[in-house]
């Protein structure tokens, strides 16, 4: 039932909130069915059969009336208490929480890490508590990650914070849930949960993009831009061709029957305009990466070169 009502659960808090949600839903459904069944049964059983009917008044029952005061009171206090305990957990930040600064403005999010790296995608390490300290540069916004079951308004005049501990590596949505004007509905961001090792690796390399060698920049972009989702480095076949031994290949078979030699210009064209030369056996599904800077494209090309020991023949 939780799968129908609730999104994927990817934080330590989520199962707790979900079981409370499911409990209230089930109890409500049972009571609703009871009320509606009684209503429909009475409506049928005591339907008017003669316009002159004047039923004798029903004597009121103290026991009945007291019972439907006392039982709901017990139920709601139970639910209150449960919700209260979980709320205290939500509000109590673990002491060792990793801290990320969040700045909101109309209509974008910026995340800043302790070493000064800033991104527009929220990277968090899995399986450890993370605390966000949030502020807004203009109007109210709200930080909402459905998969983590966390939400907190972001204010312009003081800091607010949430904490969560992501349990599943993956990619999740972050929404703004406090109405903030024209592009409120487009003020979203991506949350990427990665292992602590990969997080550290990313954080270290993310800090100094200008001075790292081109192939290392390309290596960083390979994971950061999501290339690894479709292109393997070990020769295995994924959504796109593997990069192992790609560079310098002389008989690269195209969908239109021609063959080409894989050189730097072909790679560059494929990154910026992937559909221009479609490889035989693959779908034209790769988005354009024309948003990459000149240096980043070159970095990627250099990284791809490293994956091959071949050189294209000079013509």
């Amino acid at each position: 039932m939780g799968d129908f009502w609730l999104p994927e659960a990817a934080s330590t808090m989520a199962p707790e909130v979900d079981s409370l949600f499911n409990f209230v839903t089930v109890v409500s459904a049972i009571l609703l069915v009871g009320v509606v069944a009684a209503m429909l049964w009475f409506t049928y059983r005591y339907r008017r059969q003669d316009p002159a009917e004047r039923p004798a008044p029903v004597k009121e029952s103290k026991v009945l009336e007291i019972s439907w005061i006392v039982i709901p009171t017990i139920l709601v206090l139970l639910v209150f208490n449960w919700g209260f305990k979980s709320f205290v957990k939500q509000k109590t930040v673990p002491e060792n929480a990793y801290e990320i600064q969040v700045q909101a403005r109309s209509w974008a999010w910026t995340f800043e890490y302790p070493n000064g790296v800033t991104t527009d995608t929220l990277y968090v390490p899995a399986n450890e508590p993370v605390k966000t300290t949030m502020s807004s540069q203009d109007v109210l916004h709200s930080f909402f990650v459905p998969a983590f079951r966390v939400k907190q308004d972001v204010l312009p005049n003081r800091y607010t914070s949430v904490w969560f501990e992501a349990t599943e590596e993956g990619t999740y949505d972050l929404f703004c849930t406090e109405y903030c004007g024209r592009n409120h509905s487009e003020m979203d961001a991506t949350v990427k949960v990665v292992s602590r090792d990969r997080f550290d690796e990313w954080l270290e390399s993310a800090g100094t993009p200008d001075d790292i060698p081109l192939p290392r920049l390309g290596e960083r972009l390979y994971t950061q831009q999501g290339c690894q989702g479709c292109h393997s480095l070990d020769g295995s076949d994924m959504v796109g061709p593997t990069w192992q031994g790609l560079y310098g290949k002389t008989d690269h078979q195209m969908a239109d029957g021609s063959t080409i030699t894989v050189d730097a210009n072909y790679l560059r064209e494929s990154i910026l305009e992937s559909g221009a030369k479609l490889v035989e056996g693959y779908q034209n599904v790769m988005p354009s990466y024309s948003n990459l800077s000149e240096r980043e494209v070159t970095g990627l090309v250099e990284f791809i070169k490293e994956q091959s020991d071949k050189e294209p023949s000079q013509e």
Binding site: T43, P57, V79, V88, K91, A147, N157, Y179
Partner: protein, 581 residues
């Protein structure tokens, strides 16, 4: 003619009233615009509010059309933001808050307590004019560039965005006075103008509902007025109250806003509870089970309603302790609401249930309001609300309460009192079809929104993620069915005005004074003689004047039935005589 009496002079009066009633004793436009008759003011309000509901409802259909696909379909983001804002403002401030008190309260309340009018008839007329002034300011706001703040006007966005925000806040300030006037009038009327024998324990539950509502109207409405004035002062004079750029606090605005707007929820739902009690009693012909519990739970809700505003702010940045206290009190308010539902269902037990259109709405209400109540419990759970706040779950919850509760009760009440207001019957078959369309359409529109919300779809989004598409489309289809049902009602209501069958004085066999002691179309002063009340409002077993002396051969429901009058109260001369003796 509905009343027969024993003495000759009144029979003369009876003859007169065959021809004249409140609708035709004067017919000029000016006689309507200057009327101090509570019934005519109710009709004026009815026409104005029907227009507002039509406009706000069509806006809702446009919103649903825009949301039929993830990206932009029929309007851009700015337009969508204005449309949902106007839908909310019109529905809440200019339709739901005044709706039941101003239309049915005005028309029915004095009739039900055996009064000739409300306590302050001129104030009552002023209320309508003030309301119309609010409506005029709303139109000005639209001409000045529209409003895109949402109906909640959260600062600092509302302090900075352009357009007609100032005009709109002024409109809400002004329209608030219409609400205060009505509330004040009803409190005094209920205290001072009840007919002899109409004790507090014999008040129809609609009157109790209106009484509780009026308390909230008088006590809470000034707060929204002050808040709107502060917002205007901040924008015009740059005094820092809510805008942090000027040194204000945006969360303070939320406290002020919800201090009114949460009680306003009870302004909308308490009168609906009142209507429901009338419908359930009349159409099951049984005494309301737990009359006192229902009457007093309304008053309890009105009081507790002032103490729960912070449950709108669990994730706003208010302190955790405040949130915990507000959550606890919120649960206390769930209990009286539950008591009412159980009592209404128990009233059906061993009754004689007649499924006419108003009763269909009453049964729909029981289903829809119960869902609205349970989802309210859900969003009151602190830890769960953190996830659900500002998602479609909340949108769906308050539509189940506001539309499934208030509007459905209003529709039931309008069908129930339609014969008394217009003197004509509506088409019963079409009425039942429309009630079915509204019920099915409503659920198809709003149930998918519950699921959308719990899956994480935020509210006030002009565009949305692909994975929410199917549920949004279901909701849009539902809105068409719901719209069809409501337009059908509009159609047969207009038809009934011109061609409807003439209504008898008491078509439902009801036992409250507006049916037993008032002509089919009430006369200008309501009653031929002040009624003397000798039994409770739902004592069907004692209501021999309705059912013909308890011989078991009462007239059929198809037959126009002329009730005997309840015994009249002694005239002033009689009183003097007995005082002298």
């Amino acid at each position: 003619m509905s009343t027969t009496t024993q003495d000759a002079p009144v029979e003369q009066g009876e003859h007169d009233s065959d021809d004249t009633n409140y609708l035709n004793h004067e017919t000029t436009i000016w006689s309507w615009l200057s009327t101090k008759d509570h019934k005519r003011i109710g009709v004026l309000y009815c026409v104005s509010l029907a227009l507002v509901f039509l406009v706000a409802g069509v806006l809702a259909l446009f919103m649903r059309a825009e949301l039929s696909a993830p990206g932009e379909t029929i309007m851009n983001n700015d337009t969508y933001n204005q449309v949902f804002t106007m839908h909310g403002i019109l529905m809440v401030f200019l339709f739901l808050v005044p709706s039941i008190p101003a239309i049915l309260g005005n028309f029915v309340l004095p009739l039900q307590i055996g009064a000739k009018d409300v306590a302050f008839p001129k104030l009552n007329l002023a209320s309508w004019y003030v309301y119309m002034a609010g409506a005029a300011l709303t139109i000005t706001a639209l001409l000045a560039g529209g409003v895109d703040t949402g109906w909640t006007f959260y600062t600092p966005y509302s302090s900075t965005t352009g357009g007609g925000v100032l005009w709109m806040t002024a409109a809400i300030f002004v329209a608030g006075f219409a609400s205060i006037f009505t509330g004040l009038n009803f409190i005094v009327t209920i205290h001072k103008m009840r007919a002899p024998g109409m004790t507090w324990n014999r008040l129809p539950l609609f009157v109790w509902g209106m009484y509780a509502t009026s308390i909230v109207q008088v006590l809470a409405t000034p707060v929204i007025g002050i808040t709107m004035v502060l917002l205007i002062l901040e924008r015009v004079l740059q005094i820092g109250i809510f805008d942090p750029a000027l040194g204000g606090d945006p969360v303070l605005f939320q406290h002020f806003f919800w201090f009114y707007s949460h009680p306003a929820v009870y302004i909308m739902i308490l009168p609906a509870f009142g209507i429901l009690s009338e419908l359930i009693a009349t159409f099951s012909r049984s005494r309301i089970f737990g009359y006192r519990a229902i009457a007093l739970s309304s008053v309890a809700i009105a009081m507790l309603g002032f103490l729960v505003w912070g449950h709108h702010m669990f994730v706003s940045g208010q302190s955790a302790i405040s949130s915990i206290v507000f959550s606890l009190i919120t649960y206390l308010i769930g209990i009286p609401s539950g008591i009412k539902v159980f009592n209404w269902v128990a009233t059906l037990y061993k009754g004689s249930i007649w499924l006419q259109t108003p009763m269909l709405y009453a049964l729909s209400f029981l289903f829809l309001f119960t869902i609205g109540g349970f989802t309210g419990i859900m969003v009151g759970v602190l830890a769960v609300d953190v996830h659900l706040h500002d998602t479609y779950y909340v949108v769906s919850h308050f539509h189940y309460v506001m539309m499934g509760g208030s509007v459905v009760a209003l529709l039931g009440g309008m069908h129930y009192w339609w014969p008394k207001i217009t003197g004509r019957m509506y088409n019963e078959t079409l009425g039942k079809i429309a009630a079915g369309l509204v019920f099915v359409g409503f659920n198809l529109t709003f149930f998918p929104q519950l699921v959308l919300g719990s899956r994480g779809m935020p509210r006030r989004y002009a565009t949305y993620a692909e994975r929410f598409t199917e549920l949004h489309q279901l909701s849009t289809y539902g809105s068409w069915i719901l719209g069809a049902g409501l337009f059908l009602i509009l159609g047969y209501a207009l038809h009934s005005l011109a061609y409807g069958e003439k209504a008898p004085a008491n078509p439902w066999g009801a036992t409250t004074l507006e049916w037993t002691n008032v002509a089919a179309v009430p006369i200008h002063h309501n009653f031929e003689r002040t009624p003397l009340v000798t039994r409770g409002p739902y004592d069907f077993h004692l209501a021999d004047e309705v059912f013909g002396g308890g011989d078991g051969k009462a007239l059929g429901d198809e037959t126009p039935r002329i009730p005997e009058p309840a015994p009249s109260a002694p005239t002033e001369e009689d009183a003097k005589e007995s005082a002298g003796a």
